[in-house]
Structure formats: structure tokens, C-alpha cells
């Protein structure tokens, strides 16, 4: 058993190296092979030196027992120690050589051969084969040994280089060399010792036995007993020890089979010891006894695991439990290795004590010695067997005989496993390097652990021995057997106790391993030694294993992946935010109807107290006048009237309109009453002064401010036929001082003859005047100095000057707008001869504007064109604009506008009428233009009377149309003024032209020559005015300068007037026709302005006023006949 259990020193340090290597390999997996090999070599060197040194160290320690605890410190001062050790070694060697020689010589050659077989990994088989044969052929064996050495001592050779660095080592080596030289004689012995030291403890024991047998025969028996006892123990509880041993064998076999693996294996092993030395040993050494127990428990657990691992060995790496265990085993390995070494040393020291202890020490130096003296050794090896063989001792032979049987049995039991393992290792070799290494390490560790286990047991034995030794360092060997017996007993007890403990510690240790797991994670994945069936819960373990395996896998993966992946805390996603309902919503939700909303709620907020008047109100009725024109603007009566309250509801605007019209009617009625009264009273009431008239009335021009003024012009409104303009010249003697220099225009309503409606004043002489086209609310006048003046009759009296004249207040209206000096660029530069509104056909067709209301309403849209013609032939067209808003403060831009005025003129265009005249007429100088008339049916055409007897035909825009000129019947151009032009109100294509030479021409628009011309009707007196009758188409009135009025009726007589009147008493200055062509039945008459300033109305007789049947057709017929 022991022989198989025992482990060579090579193996131990191989395992250490392995551990180291694995660590290194794990440090960087992808190391270069070169680097690896280099490292390995170094490791080997260091490991070997270290181990040897430490071993030597320990020698010293044992000598100095108390220093054992401080071994770590001494490790540091190893170098120093080495020298000392070396010295000591020398001494010891010198002392012990003789003993050794004796003992060694006693060893049988055969046994040595066996030992070598077991020891030498590769050569064993060969040697076995040769066993018999090679007895004589020592050379071959020596060669084999050399091979072995070469294989085993690759490191030492390498270390040679390393050692140069380490002088201590060199020295040591030198010393050793010297020593070796000195001990050449004892080489054989040394060699044997070396080899033996490499061999298993069993062999050691055997050697022990041998030595003991020699020295103390009792030892042999003890040894035997002990061995038996252990076998028993093994059989009892540790059947798996076989497997450990077998594993080692397997390992060997695998090494034999797979040299590569073997080499790696060794290399790896080499790493182990050093790490173990440095890291774990010191701690554990402090409490060897406890450690021992722990190791025991660990051992057993490991064994269990080993069994498991056999089930699933390929997944060793990820078994956390095992990892944990491995950690322990790691530690234990180191520990054990040392201890084992120590044990070995101890044991060997014992042996040495018996035989010569230097053997062991030299083991450490063995390689060096070999490297140093290969040849010598070879020789010596050759010699040794030769020497030894003859000296075989019977005891050893017996031991050896026993051993083979045991080993054989073990081998047979573990044969399967070994083969499996080897094959497995081979497989793994094919696999990835790391794995292979790891797995190899696993297997190695199991082996080692098993070995250590054994070592440990041995150690315990040896521990006692050590103590004994410590106490009695070089004691007599007779005491040993007794002590050993006691030790055996103790061991038995201890083992049984440990077995008990396992149960207790099992769970705990498991827990411990879990705790240790994270530390170890992936550094080492190993499985542990052989398994023992007793206390193992396979199912749980398996589950644990699987789970941990998975966990570790995932962890590994996650570690690798996490480098590539960034995990982050995403922003917080708000998944639901349901605000709490307020009370109202809850109420509605619970008690309301769906999809309805309660908009208002009755609450007492608006239930407030308010004061109210309950007493009867005292009311007093008052009236007020606005604007307050008199001193009395308000007053009241105490009587409250229902009617007055009704009156308040009246539409004030309608009332105003009604009142205006009603006032006029009433005024007219009052006037008539008055007139009748006057007529009845006054003889002055005139009878008809004209033959054509049957009555007459007079406008009251006997007013202070009109007194003494000649009437220059009379003009009826086209729309309101009863409205008359009368232009009064400057008075001959000033009646009213304020108005002395002013021309006055009076606006009359002929039905209110007592007083003019409005009085307009103008500073310059008014040559002509007219009403606006649509209504009678605006009056325009042209003056001698070339300005065009406008009045707005609607203006309030407030803005005008009021004058108290003759006990009556008159409003004297100044022009609303005057172009005087304002529009200088376009204004007339000479006397304005005519102003005429450019009326559209609409206004002409408009029915008689007798309806006052209608005219009032029509007044709103006041915008039309006005034409003004001056003497020089400049025809200006103005646009009359009514401003929306009057400005009482006056306008900055419209300088001609009176403050508060609303009508202004805007110059539209200018037409030079002279351009219409032919050139030949222009040679005499531009003709004077005297009058203008627009064609009633088409205001585009205008007809201008000149001072050369011609009437020019022009158009405001567009092409000029023929005829350009309307000429008299003969000698076309004469210095004859065309004094007046008047269009017929019927048919509208004929017009009468009165000339200053007394000729009257009747023209048709279409022809330039007159239809009719009457030259001598007035006896050459200049014609002042020609007027068509408004009601009869064939009738017209002519006034000449000598105040003769001629009445023409073309139906009766187309050659001379039908009637002629002469008023020489009070000369007639101008006449106007009253009447309405639309209402022939209405009164029509002649307005006669007298030189005295009186204005008379001569009402025409029915005969003259009422039209005949088909008069117009008859007229046309007559005219055509005349042509």
C-alpha cells in the first residue's frame, strides 16, 4: 500500500509546478508557447530550488523545533539558510555516510529495481521487462536512468542558467559538487537514497523497514502491523484510497502513454509547490493538528466528489463545490506537499537517524547533482545496482513480496479507472489547451490530494515521530516500535473521530465552499480526490453541481458579454397617470347621467339681500329744448299726461322729416292766406300784366338787404321746380351796411314768396349760378374773378353769420367752399360765364322733385360733376364731394372750405374748348365762350356758345362727333354773340340759339345748320334769353334786351311769334320758366325779374300751358316740312 501511496518528490513538485503553471496560464490564456515554456522552465528551476531549499530549511527547523511557526519568515531568508544548510548537509553527510553506506548496502538490488520501476515513469515498463535481464546489464539500466534523468532533469539543466543568477544556489551547488566529489565513494548510497526519496513512502517505509529491520528487528513487525492496520482502515472506510493509488498508477500509465501530457503534467506540477509554499503553508502550519482534521474531512469530501467527478468529470471546471474544495485542497496540497515533504524528510530523517539522514537532503539536490555529474552518476548508477544486488536483505524481500501483491490488487481494482483516466486525459489533450491543463490539473490534484492524504496520515505518524524526534533528536531506535504502536492507536482513534466529524462538518464545509466560491471563481477548477460512499448525498450534490455549473456558465458568459454591452437605467416610463377625481366628478359619476354635465349648481352664494324701493315715486314732468336756442330751455308742468308719454315713443327722425315737410306746407298755406289777405286789402294786387298770363304774384323782394339790388339771374332747380335762385347785384344805395359789398343769392320757394328760404352772400360778382343736379341742397356759382363757389344749404345756421335786419334775423350764408385763390393752378383765370352740373340722364328723367321727402332722402348721396366755363374757353370739371364729417375747427388741407362745411370741390379735369374750333377760326384769336349747355340725354356732349355766332359741339371724353360747329344759315362766322342756348325739353335733340344780332336759330343736334332761323323777329334787338316752354314742345319764349317778350308757338306759326309783350315801365332783366314738364296740368308761368329788383310770377293761361294732342309729332312734322 505504502509503496503505491508514496509519491515521488518529482511528482510533488510537479504538482506544485502544475498549480503554478495553471495560475500563470490563467493569468494569460493566450500565452505564446515560447513564453510558456520559458516560464515553465523558470518555474521548474525555482520550484526545484525552492523545494530543496525549503526542505533544507525544514531540516534546520526540525532541529530548532520552535522556529517551525516562523517558517514563512525563514523562507524569505532562505538564501542565507541555504548556505548554512549546505554546510550542515555537508557535516551531516560526513557523519552519516558510514551509516548510510551500511543501510544502503543492505538494500536489495531487486527491491531497488522495483522502486525504480515504480518511480521511473517512462522507463518503468521497460525496466520491468528488463528486470531480470538488466540485473547483469547495468549499462543499459544506467542509460535508462540517464534517460529518466534527462527527462526528469530538464529543469535542472535549465536551472543551470538560472542558478548563475542566484549565487547562493551556485554556491550551494558548488558545495554540493564538492560534497559529491568528496562523497564519490558514497555515491551509490546517495543515488539509492535519491531514488528512494523519489519513490513512494511505501518504499520509504520499506526502506525504513529495511533499515529498521537491520537496526531494530522490531520495527519490521511494527511496520507490518501498521501497514495491515492501514489496509484495514482502507478497507473499512476508505476503499477509495485504492482509487487514489490507482489514479497515480493511471497517471503513470498515462504518462507512459502520452509523453507530451506527461511533460506538461510535470511542468504544471512544478508550479504547484512554490505557490503552496508561499501562500498556504504558513497559515496552515500554524495549527497542524487542526489542519490535520480539516484535511481529513476535506479528504473525505474530496473523495466523495471524486466519485461524482467520475460521473461527470468533464465538467469539473464549473463545479463550484469542487472549486471550493479545490481551494482547500490547493491549500492542502501546498500544505501537504510541504508536510509530505517534511514527512518524507522526517521519515527519512528518521531513517537517516538510523541510516544517515543526508539522503533526503540530497534528494533536493539530486537533480543538480545529476546535472552536474551525469557521467559520474551514470557510472555510479551502474555501480550501485551491482553493489546492491548481492546485498539484498530477506526482510526487505518479504516486504517487497508483500508489496507487489498489494500493488497488483490495487492495480487490478483501479485498472478500469486508470485506463479511463488515461484515455480521458488523452481526449482532453486533444481539446483546448486550457481545458486540458485544467483537467490535467484536476486529475493531478486528485492524485496529489490522495497522495497527500496518505502523506498526511503518514505525517500524523511522523508528527508524533517528529515530536519524539524533537524531544529526543537523536534517540535510540529501540524506543520507536513502542511509540509507533501508541501512534497507531492514536491514529485509529483519530480516524474514527474524524469519520464521525465528517458527518458534522459535511454541511458546514459545503457551506464554506460556497462562501469561498466567488474568490476562486475561474482561477482554478478542479475536482478532488477519490470518493467515499458513506456520507454522500448524491442527488443533492448533483443538483447542486448542476445548478452551480449552470450558474458558473452563465456567470462566465455574462462576464464576457458585459464588456460588450452597456446596461443602463432607462428613464422612468410613466405608465399610467390617473388623476384623482374631484368631488364633482365623483358625484356626477355616481349620480349623474352619462355624457351629461351639470353646468350650474344651486348654492347659497348668490342668495344675497338687496334693497328695493317700495314707496311710490314722485314724478314731475319736464320738457327741454335742444339745442337751447332761447333763454328758456326747459320748463315743466306738474300735470302728467298720458299723451306726452306716448309722444316720447315717436321715432324722432320720422317726426323730424314729417315736421320739415309739414312746416313747409303750413308755411305755404300761411303765405297764401297772407297773400290773399294782402290782395284783398291791397289794390296793389296786380292783374296779369302779360297777355299770355292770367294772373301774377310777386316774390317779396322788398327786404332791406335786397332793396335796390338788380336781379341778375334767375334759375329754377331742375328737380324741385318750385325752388328758385335769384342773384342780386350790388345795391345802388347801401341799405344794409354789412352787405353793401356783397352780392346776394336768394333761394326762394315760390310758394313762400314772403321771404327767401336762404340768403347766400358772396363777395365777388356772381355771373352764373345753379343748383346741384339731384336736389336743391347745394348751390354753385361762378364769379367774375374766376372762382367757383359752392354753398351747402343744409348747413346749420350756427356756423353762419346772422344779422338782425329790419326786426328780423337773417342768416347770411357764406360760401361753403370757394376755389378762390385755392386751386390757383387749375382755377379759372377769367370770369366764369357758366356753371352747370353734369347731370346724368337719371336726374333728368327723374320725376318732378316735388316730393320734399324724396328730395331730402336723395340728398344723402351728394357726389356729382360740375362744369364751369370761363370766357377764355377753359372748361373745368369739378367733382363735388360731400365730406362725411364736418370739422368745426376747419381743415388744414382744404383751405377753401368753411369751418364746419361738408361740401368741397375737387378739380377733376380741364378741357380747352378752343381746341374744338377749327384753325381758320382761331386765326382771329380765340373766340370768347359765353355759355354752355350739356345735352340732356347725354351729358358727355356739351354745346358752347361763342362770340362768333357759332355753337361749338364738344365731348368731355371720347372722340369728337360731328357736327363740330353749329352755324347760322349763312356767312358762318360773324362777330355775333351767342347769348343763350336752350334745349327743348321734349325730344331733347333740338336746341334754340339766341344771338346778339337778334337772330334765333333752331338747331338739331345732328346737323350743323339750323332747322329754322328767324332773323328779324326782334327787329335786330339782341336776344337776351331764349327759353323753351316746359309743358309744350312747340312753344318758346324770347326776351330781348329792350324788355320785349316774344311768345313763339311753332304749331301755330313758325315764322313769327304768336304774341309779343313789352314791359317798359320796369324793364325785365331776365326771365325764367316755371313749370314741370311732367305735370303739364300744374301751374306754369314766367318768372320775370324786373330792373327794380322785383320778381314776378306770371301764370300762363291754360291755352299756353297745356299741351296739345300729339304736339310733339306735329312739331316734328312741321319742322320736317320746313326743311
Amino acid at each position: 500500500m505504502r509503496s503505491s501511496k508514496g509519491k515521488t518528490k518529482d511528482d510533488t513538485w510537479k504538482s506544485e509546478e502544475l498549480l503554478k503553471h495553471i495560475k500563470a496560464a490563467q493569468g494569460d490564456h493566450t500565452d505564446d508557447n515560447d513564453k510558456k515554456s520559458r516560464e515553465k522552465k523558470r518555474h521548474k528551476d525555482e520550484a526545484s530550488t525552492g523545494s530543496s531549499d525549503s526542505r533544507e530549511h525544514r531540516h534546520r527547523e526540525r532541529e530548532r523545533d520552535k522556529e517551525r511557526e516562523r517558517e514563512r519568515d525563514k523562507d524569505r531568508v532562505r538564501n542565507k539558510g541555504k548556505e548554512r544548510d549546505g554546510d550542515r548537509h555537508k557535516e551531516r553527510e560526513h557523519e552519516k555516510v558510514p551509516k548510510k553506506v551500511k543501510s544502503e548496502e543492505r538494500d536489495k538490488e531487486k527491491k531497488q529495481e522495483k522502486e525504480r520501476e515504480k518511480h521511473k515513469n517512462r522507463d518503468r515498463d521497460k525496466e520491468k521487462d528488463r528486470e531480470g535481464e538488466l540485473d547483469c546489464s547495468a549499462d543499459q539500466r544506467a542509460r535508462n536512468k540517464d534517460k529518466e534523468r534527462n527527462s526528469n532533469t530538464e529543469r535542472p539543466t535549465n536551472r543551470g542558467h538560472e542558478s548563475e543568477r542566484h549565487r547562493d544556489k551556485d554556491k550551494e551547488r558548488d558545495k554540493k559538487k564538492e560534497r559529491d566529489k568528496l562523497q564519490e565513494k558514497a555515491k551509490e548510497k546517495d543515488e539509492i537514497g535519491d531514488q528512494r526519496s523519489k519513490h513512494r513512502q511505501r518504499k520509504d517505509k520499506v526502506s525504513n523497514c529495511a533499515s529498521e529491520n537491520l537496526d531494530l528487528p522490531k520495527d519490521d513487525k511494527n511496520e507490518e502491523k501498521e501497514r495491515k492496520h492501514r489496509e484495514r482502515k482502507d478497507k473499512e472506510g476508505r476503499s477509495t484510497e485504492n482509487s487514489e493509488e490507482s489514479k497515480e498508477k493511471k497517471r503513470r500509465s498515462s504518462e507512459v502513454k502520452d509523453e507530451d501530457h506527461d511533460r506538461r503534467y510535470k511542468e504544471r506540477k512544478e508550479h504547484g509547490p512554490r505557490d503552496g509554499h508561499r501562500e498556504k503553508r504558513p497559515k496552515e502550519r500554524k495549527e497542524p493538528g487542526q489542519e490535520g482534521r480539516v484535511e481529513e474531512t476535506e479528504k473525505k469530501r474530496r473523495e466523495r466528489k471524486d466519485k461524482e467527478s467520475k460521473e461527470d468529470e468533464k465538467k469539473h471546471r464549473y463545479k463550484d463545490i469542487k472549486v471550493g474544495a479545490l481551494e482547500l485542497t490547493d491549500r492542502e496540497q501546498g500544505h501537504r506537499e510541504k508536510k509530505g515533504r517534511e514527512k518524507k524528510e522526517d521519515r527519512e530523517r528518521k531513517h537517516k537517524v538510523k541510516k544517515g539522514k543526508e539522503e533526503k537532503e540530497r534528494q533536493g539536490d539530486y537533480n543538480e547533482e545529476q546535472s552536474g555529474k551525469k557521467k559520474k552518476e551514470r557510472r555510479s548508477v551502474q555501480e550501485v545496482p551491482n553493489e546492491r544486488r548481492p546485498k539484498g536483505s530477506t526482510v526487505e524481500q518479504v516486504a517487497c513480496q508483500e508489496k507487489p501483491t498489494e500493488s497488483l490488487s490495487e492495480e487490478s481494482t483501479s485498472g478500469l479507472q486508470s485506463t479511463w483516466r488515461s484515455s480521458w486525459i488523452g481526449l482532453n489533450d486533444d481539446d483546448a489547451l486550457v481545458e486540458g491543463e485544467e483537467i490535467a490539473m484536476d486529475s493531478q490534484s486528485t492524485i496529489e490530494s490522495s497522495n497527500y492524504e496518505d502523506d498526511f496520515e503518514d505525517y500524523e505518524d511522523d508528527f508524533e515521530d517528529d515530536e519524539c524526534e524533537d524531544e529526543e533528536v537523536e534517540q535510540e531506535k529501540e524506543e520507536m516500535p513502542a511509540r509507533q504502536r501508541a501512534e497507531i492507536e492514536e491514529i485509529k482513534k483519530a480516524i474514527s473521530a474524524e469519520n464521525e466529524q465528517i458527518r458534522a462538518t459535511q454541511t458546514r464545509s459545503n457551506r464554506k465552499t460556497y462562501e469561498e466560491e466567488p474568490k476562486r471563481d475561474f482561477e482554478i477548477s478542479q475536482t478532488s480526490g477519490p470518493s467515499r460512499g458513506t456520507f454522500i448525498d448524491f442527488v443533492a450534490a448533483k443538483q447542486r453541481e448542476i445548478s452551480s455549473k449552470v450558474a458558473s456558465k452563465q456567470k462566465k458568459r455574462s462576464v464576457e458579454l458585459l464588456r460588450l454591452i452597456d446596461l443602463d437605467f432607462s428613464v422612468t416610463f410613466s405608465m399610467l397617470d390617473l388623476p384623482p377625481l374631484n368631488e364633482y366628478d365623483v358625484y356626477i359619476k355616481n349620480f349623474g347621467r352619462t355624457n351629461t354635465k351639470q353646468a350650474f349648481v344651486q348654492c347659497n352664494e348668490d342668495n344675497v339681500d338687496r334693497e328695493s324701493q317700495t314707496d311710490e315715486l314722485d314724478t314731475v314732468e319736464k320738457w327741454t329744448q335742444h339745442p337751447g336756442e332761447g333763454s328758456l330751455v326747459c320748463g315743466g308742468v306738474n300735470v302728467s299726461d298720458a299723451s306726452s308719454s306716448v309722444a316720447t315713443n315717436v321715432d324722432s327722425r320720422r317726426l323730424t322729416n314729417f315736421l320739415k315737410s309739414a312746416c313747409q306746407v303750413i308755411a305755404v298755406l300761411l303765405e297764401e292766406d297772407q297773400a290773399e289777405y294782402q290782395a284783398s286789402q291791397n289794390i296793389q294786387s296786380k292783374t296779369a300784366s302779360l297777355s299770355v298770363s292770367d294772373g301774377c304774384s310777386q316774390l317779396n323782394t322788398n327786404l332791406p338787404f335786397l332793396h335796390g339790388r338788380k336781379v341778375l339771374c334767375l334759375r329754377f332747380s331742375q328737380v324741385q321746380r318750385q325752388t328758385l335762385l335769384s342773384v342780386h347785384s350790388l345795391p345802388k344805395e347801401p341799405g344794409v351796411a354789412q352787405l353793401a359789398s356783397n352780392y346776394i343769392i336768394c333761394v326762394w320757394n315760390i310758394w313762400e314768396p314772403s321771404a327767401p328760404q336762404k340768403v347766400l352772400v358772396c363777395e365777388s360778382e356772381v355771373q352764373c349760378c345753379c343748383f346741384g343736379p339731384g336736389n336743391a341742397i347745394s348751390v354753385f356759382a361762378g364769379t367774375v374773378d374766376g372762382s367757383v363757389i359752392a354753398w351747402d344749404l343744409r348747413e346749420h345756421s350756427i356756423i353762419h353769420y346772422s344779422l338782425q335786419i329790419g326786426g328780423q334775423e337773417w342768416i347770411l350764408r357764406n360760401p361753403t367752399f370757394s376755389t378762390d385763390g385755392v386751386l390757383a393752378a387749375v382755377n379759372h383765370s377769367c370770369a366764369v360765364k357758366a356753371v352747370d352740373p353734369v347731370s346724368s340722364a337719371y336726374f333728368d328723367n327723374h320725376g318732378a322733385g316735388l316730393s320734399l321727402l324724396a328730395s331730402q332722402e336723395g340728398s344723402s348721396g351728394l357726389s356729382f360733376q360740375l362744369a364751369s366755363l370761363d370766357e377764355s374757353g377753359l372748361l373745368n370739371l369739378w367733382v363735388v364731394v360731400e365730406l362725411q364729417k364736418a370739422d368745426l375747427a376747419g381743415s388744414l388741407t382744404d383751405l377753401g372750405l368753411i369751418p364746419g362745411g361738408k361740401i368741397k370741390l375737387i378739380h377733376s379735369s380741364s378741357i380747352n374748348v378752343n381746341s374744338f374750333f377749327p384753325r381758320n377760326l382761331m386765326q382771329l384769336g380765340p373766340p370768347q365762350t359765353l355759355s354752355i349747355r350739356f345735352l340732356p340725354s347725354d351729358p358727355n356732349h356739351f354745346f358752347i356758345g361763342t362770340d362768333i355766332g357759332l355753337v361749338s359741339h364738344g365731348t368731355r371724353h371720347g372722340l369728337q362727333t360731328a357736327p363740330k360747329l353749329y352755324k347760322p344759315q349763312m356767312n358762318s362766322v360773324r362777330p355775333v354773340q351767342v347769348t343763350c342756348i336752350d334745349f327743348c325739353h321734349f325730344g331733347k335733340t333740338m336746341f334754340l340759339v339766341g344771338c346778339s344780332d337778334g337772330t334765333i336759330r333752331l338747331h338739331s343736334v345732328a346737323t350743323d345748320h339750323p332747322i329754322l332761323q328767324w332773323n328779324e323777329s326782334t327787329q335786330g334787338r339782341p336776344i337776351q334769353t331764349v327759353l323753351w316752354a316746359l309743358t309744350r314742345p312747340g312753344m318758346f319764349f324770347v326776351l330781348d334786351e329792350s324788355s320785349h317778350i316774344y311768345v313763339w308757338d311753332l304749331l301755330q306759326n313758325d315764322s313769327k311769334p304768336v304774341a309779343e309783350e313789352s314791359l317798359q315801365l320796369d324793364r325785365i332783366t331776365t326771365i325764367a320758366i316755371l313749370g314741370d314738364p311732367e305735370k303739364p296740368s300744374a301751374s306754369s308761368g314766367l318768372m320775370l325779374a324786373k330792373q327794380s329788383g322785383a320778381i314776378e310770377i306770371q301764370y300762363l293761361k291754360k291755352q299756353w300751358s297745356e299741351p296739345h294732342l300729339n304736339e310733339l309729332e306735329t312739331l316734328h312734322y312741321i319742322l320736317q316740312k320746313t326743311i
Partner: protein, 165 residues
């Protein structure tokens, strides 16, 4: 390094599972919560093997809009015209969660581990705030969430997809 180094598909976010908090203002409304977790599926009916992919292909990405639609359909189907019944709702919650899970699975988001969480609560006017926070890889992982509210209950369903590297 051999392939089996990467053995064992790793859900790096075992601890990543969305942490949802639901806070209800006091008032007595019940809230039922159910979360369903699926295993990552490579293809329908196949467990995810390890790959070297650490990013899903675009067509296999977890698409929020699609999932939203599915969740919406499920919620409408299951919860329309339902009122809160404390007896029935736990089952309902589970049923919805399962339905959503099944629906989303059909979307074939390969290698996605799905977590479907359904919360149904009674609506009595209390305020509810729900928020989720995830420790994950924002590149690959996503979630979709829909809310269904009617007169008597509210339901929040969220599906989280964690990519299984």
C-alpha cells in the same frame, strides 16, 4: 477559445426585470397585478441557443408599435363592457397577461425574453400613478404599454422585451 466557452445563453438582466410601481391614493380601490414571463425563443417553439449575436436583427427587434396594437386588441377584446368584479378580476388579469404573451410571441421577436405585466384596478376616483424603470440595454430592449380605462376599471398592460444575448 472554443465555442462552448460561451455556453449557456445569458440573460444579463436577471435582475433587470422591469420594476413597476403602482401607487394608488387611498380610497379602497383594488388593484390586481399579474406578470408573466416567457423564456427567450429563437424561433417559435425553440429555445434560444447561444450565438455570438449581441444585437438582434432589425426584423426581430422588439417593435413597440406592433406590440402596442396587439395589446390594445387584447385589452379591447377582453375588457370591453366588463366591469370590475373582485371575484373575476384575478383570473381576468392572468388571462389577459397570457393572451398578450401569446400574441406578442407570435410577433417572432427572436431571442427576446418577454415580461408581460397586467394591472387591473378598480376605478373609484382615486388617483393612480404607475411607473416602470428598467435596468437594461436600451439598444436592444424595449417595452410597449397600453392603457384601457372604462367606467369601473382601468387596466395597464405592459410588455417588456429583454434581449437574450
Amino acid at each position: 477559445m472554443s465555442a462552448d466557452k460561451l455556453m449557456g445563453g445569458t440573460n444579463l438582466r436577471a435582475r433587470v426585470y422591469p420594476r413597476t410601481q403602482c401607487r394608488v391614493t387611498p380610497g379602497g380601490a383594488e388593484v390586481r397585478r399579474v406578470a408573466v414571463v416567457t423564456e427567450p425563443v429563437a424561433k417559435v417553439g425553440k429555445m434560444a441557443e447561444n450565438t455570438y449575436n449581441i444585437r438582434p436583427a432589425f426584423q426581430h427587434r422588439f417593435k413597440t408599435e406592433i406590440v402596442k396594437g396587439k395589446i390594445n386588441n387584447v385589452l379591447k377584446e377582453e375588457l370591453s363592457n366588463k366591469s370590475y368584479d373582485p371575484e373575476e378580476i384575478p383570473n381576468m388579469t392572468r388571462k389577459i397577461a397570457e393572451a398578450i404573451k401569446t400574441e406578442v410571441k407570435e410577433c417572432a421577436f427572436e431571442r427576446y425574453k418577454l415580461v408581460v405585466q397586467v394591472v387591473i384596478g378598480e376605478q373609484r376616483g382615486e388617483g393612480v400613478k404607475m411607473a416602470a424603470r428598467c435596468f437594461w440595454d436600451a439598444d436592444t430592449d424595449n417595452f410597449a404599454q397600453e392603457v384601457y380605462v372604462n367606467d369601473s376599471l382601468f387596466c395597464v398592460a405592459a410588455a417588456f422585451g429583454c434581449y437574450y444575448y
